[in-house]
């Protein structure tokens, strides 16, 4: 779930650009043509009347915000979901794709955003699954072993065929997925956000392979959030927004700014009105913080940081470099070693007092990265979510036994009004609110506590522009009231716009600190890649 979702990186800095126009396609039958595809999940319309054509031997990019419907569309093409309406044409032929078997027969292979591998099977077993020749395994395995060797040589796709998937790195697992498709002789390959989980090196390797495949005449659809990748590798690109296909353009005729605007639907202005910080006493001091995960891998490798009252420290970095672990330790739900001092007082990192309750009692508020899994109980009403984590606070108790539900509801009503949560109905379950409004509920809960230290992870992920502006404003306000704020975001622009200081994390370490005005995207990018200290 921690996939790197660099939603609208370029979008935020986009400026005016010419209106979108579909490019004229070359002659010949398209490899893929979708006509009028629609798909609803319950009341969510994930795809609305989508049409698209992809010419053979090209790399076609698809971009769009979180939840725009990209994965859904590709899953329909691959027969994983059934469309409610629409037609699929493959190589000029109207093709029914009721299930993945049909897609495979039509020469389509797909590498999903979340890999579909059997963890305790070997590479070989995963490769032949569903593509066995005959009822017995041995002949299939032998054949696959030979074939794998050939593919490995041809495409630099080396993996040990007898290794179990769970022993492989994410990058290698992805290779197995690509090998699976190639083994099935796919000539149309769909990759859903393949680079989100890769190191820059691995990503480069992947694109070399993709280009190689393209040169062989294969057709590739690439979903990504990273405009740079689109610009560097694709021939054409489609943009999706809220379930609709807003445009398809030739990559050579567009610019990142233009794409960003297409993606978001309007010109994007992102000026956070913010005065210069006025830092006071040191609130948070972290010394030599180390964290190991369940498998014993060191996720944080000696972090040192300080944050003062009235300043925002932004942590930039590709996701998966330890940011989540940092927030978890500070938030009290992961253990670590080292020293953390809040207002000069040392925090318990392993013992009885290293939990969310104790942290909150000390004045640490936390807007978690993943609001659905951590920040909210989706089945709880808004009023219950508004005190979630603070439910033991004496202010919310009627007496020693029972909670003051009526009081909490009234308090929630006010908070919802102040934070412009729509609809402002405290009794509605959290799952009934849209993503942006859910985020506002979490923010309201944490900010209204007037914490000494606010931890914020990805505060605007999947949130629309209007809400983004509002959320940023509240964070800055809190800073101006004298709180120390630790901001973690994979959106460089957000980091740059909000932070008073920027620290870059790579591989569990702080690569260095910069003042936002003294640095640029390029330098930060190199630091995030671990190249520059």
């Amino acid at each position: 779930m921690q996939a790197d979702q660099n939603t609208t990186k370029a979008g935020r800095q986009a400026t005016a650009a010419p209106a979108a126009k579909s490019v004229a396609t070359p002659t010949g039958a398209p490899a893929i043509e979708l006509k009028g595809i629609s798909k609803a999940f319950g009341t969510v319309q994930a795809n609305k009347d989508i049409s698209i054509r992809v010419m053979p031997g090209t790399i076609h990019g698809i971009i769009g915000e979180n939840g725009a419907g990209k994965s859904t569309l590709m899953s329909i093409l691959y027969g994983f979901y059934k469309a409610d309406a629409g037609e699929i044409w493959i190589k000029g032929k109207h093709t029914q794709i009721p299930d993945s078997q049909a897609a495979i027969s039509a020469g389509i292979g797909m590498v999903f955003q979340h890999f579909k591998l059997v963890q305790n099977f070997t590479v070989l077993e995963n490769i032949i699954l569903g593509a066995e020749d005959g009822a017995l395994l041995r002949p299939s395995l032998n054949k696959a072993r030979r074939e794998l060797k050939r593919l490995a040589e041809e495409y630099e796709l080396n993996v040990d065929p007898d290794e179990k998937i769970e022993e492989l790195s994410v990058g290698h697992q992805q290779r197995v997925e690509i090998l699976k498709a190639l083994y099935r002789q796919a000539d149309i390959l769909i990759l859903d956000e393949p680079t989100g989980v890769l190191t820059p090196d691995e990503a480069d390797h992947l694109f070399r392979i993709l280009n190689h495949l393209k040169d062989e005449g294969k057709t590739i659809i690439l979903i990504t959030h990273k405009l740079r990748e689109i610009m560097e590798t694709t021939d054409t690109v489609s943009v999706m927004r809220r379930g609709e296909m807003t445009a398809t353009v030739s990559t050579s005729e567009t610019s990142p700014e233009h794409l960003a605007e297409l993606m978001v639907g309007r010109k994007v202005l992102l000026n956070v009105a913010k005065t210069k910080a006025n830092p006071g006493r040191t609130v948070l001091e972290i010394e030599n913080l180390k964290v190991r995960d369940e498998d014993g891998v060191e996720r944080l490798r000696g972090i040192n940081l300080q944050i003062r009252a009235g300043e925002i420290l932004g942590i930039a970095g590709v996701s998966g470099n330890g940011q989540s672990e940092l927030l978890e330790v500070l938030g009290g739900f992961a253990n670590g070693t080292g020293t953390i001092r809040l207002n000069g007082e040392e925090l318990d990192l392993t013992g009885k007092h290293s939990d969310g309750q104790s942290r909150r009692a000390k004045g640490i508020a936390h807007v978690p990265e993943d609001r659905h899994h951590l920040g909210l109980i989706l089945d709880f009403a808004a009023w219950e979510n508004m005190v979630f984590g603070y439910h033991s606070d004496p202010a919310y108790q009627k007496n020693r036994l029972v909670m003051d539900n009526a009081g909490i509801t009234a308090h929630t009503q006010e908070a919802m009004n102040r934070f412009d949560v729509r609809p402002p109905i405290p009794t509605l379950p959290a799952k009934s609110f849209s993503g942006g409004n859910q985020q506002k509920i979490v923010l309201a809960r944490e900010i209204e506590r007037n914490p000494d230290l606010l931890l914020v992870g990805q505060p605007t992920r999947g949130v629309d522009i209007g809400a983004i502006e509002f959320i940023h404003k509240r964070i800055v306000e809190l800073r101006d009231q004298g709180a120390a704020i630790l901001l973690v975001s994979v959106e460089l622009d957000e980091i740059r716009a909000l932070s008073d200081r920027i620290a870059v994390m790579f591989d569990g370490q702080i690569m260095g600190e910069r003042a936002p005005e003294d640095t640029d995207e390029k330098e930060l990018g190199l630091m995030m890649a671990g190249v520059v200290k």
Partner: protein, 321 residues
């Protein structure tokens, strides 16, 4: 304890372990495919009843066998519909299946035979009689080997040999065939199977059906091999012990043989020696009866190696929320 006693105990363990073995392998297929099955008890009971009833009426153990398997299959279908088609809670479904069998068998038995919820006593061809293996008579007096052959290996009903043959067969199917590969995959990650173009639903129904057949054999053996007819609640918790054995065996066929035979031996010992005096403590019969359950708890607690169930086990496969 002399050699003859040991052979006799082992012989008894084989008889008592056989229904456990069949039920355990039954559960293995289902759970390997990701469908938890705490309804083994009910399926065995259903099979015991239908096999007993049909064998009593027709006088044919083989017809009884078919009826028994049919009875267990029908409950498998119920469990399959609940957990595959309607994506219900597999544990709740299993509980319901057990109750259904426990009530239904007595209800029908009473209505058909008016013998207080049991079937008439089976005799002759209504039962699976012991089979004497070739040469058993001849070698019977040869010490050790002959005794083992005559007493332990020979003289069981056909279903016992079927059960033992099922062990290597299950292993082979699971690890050497396409079907086995897919079955294991669907229990670990159904999406991998789905995206490989294989129907998760069909695969899981097949697995559940195999479970029905095997638990049908288990119940049939109880009523027509081990005993001579159905009496109410005659499974007496054996389905749960089979489940315990399955966990004990970590969902693998060969260890399943070991686990079920161990539990069979425990039962044989407690039949023979109600109280076991270890000198220091005197183990009462109630303790002996609880040993399989206690062992299972210990295994589950991870004190003797961790038992990791198939990863997708117990969860319905839901594509669209």
């Amino acid at each position: 304890m002399d050699f003859a006693t040991i052979v006799e105990l082992l012989d008894s363990a084989v008889r008592l372990g056989t229904p456990l073995l069949l039920a355990c392998l039954a559960g293995l297929f289902s759970e390997r495919a990701g469908i938890f099955d705490i309804g083994l008890e009910g399926k065995m009971l259903m099979a015991a009843f239908f096999s007993g009833a049909v064998a009593a009426v027709t006088g044919s153990a083989w017809l009884g066998l078919m009826a028994g398997v049919g009875g267990a299959l029908s409950l498998s279908l119920v469990h399959g519909m609940a957990s595959i088609t309607f994506r219900g809670n597999q544990l709740i479904s299993g509980v319901a299946v057990n109750f259904l069998a426990s009530g239904f068998t007595v209800l029908i038995a009473q209505s058909w035979f008016h013998q207080g919820g049991r079937t008439p006593q089976l005799s002759g061809s209504g039962r699976f009689e012991p089979i004497t293996l070739p040469g058993a008579e001849a070698v019977k007096d040869v010490p050790v080997i002959g005794q083992l052959y005559d007493n332990l290996l020979s003289g069981h009903s056909i279903l016992v040999y079927v059960a033992f043959a099922m062990v290597p067969l299950t292993w082979w199917v699971l690890f050497r065939t396409r079907f086995g590969l897919r079955l294991r995959a669907v229990g670990e990650n159904p999406e991998s199977v789905d995206t490989a173009g294989i129907s998760v639903v069909r695969l899981r129904y097949t697995a559940v059906a195999i479970t029905g057949v095997l638990s049908g054999l288990a119940g049939t053996y109880l009523a027509t091999g081990l005993a001579a007819g159905f009496v109410k609640e005659m499974t007496a918790g054996r389905g749960y012990i089979a489940l315990a054995a399955l966990i004990f065996a970590k969902w693998r066929p060969v260890p399943a043989l070991g686990a079920t035979m161990l539990f069979g031996l425990l039962e044989a010992i407690s039949n023979r020696y109600p109280n076991i005096d270890l000198g220091v403590v005197n183990l009462p019969i109630q303790f002996m009866q609880a040993v399989p359950y206690i062992l299972t708890v210990i295994i589950l607690a991870g004190f003797i190696g961790k038992a990791i169930p198939p990863r997708a086990g117990g969860q319905p496969y839901v594509k669209e929320r």
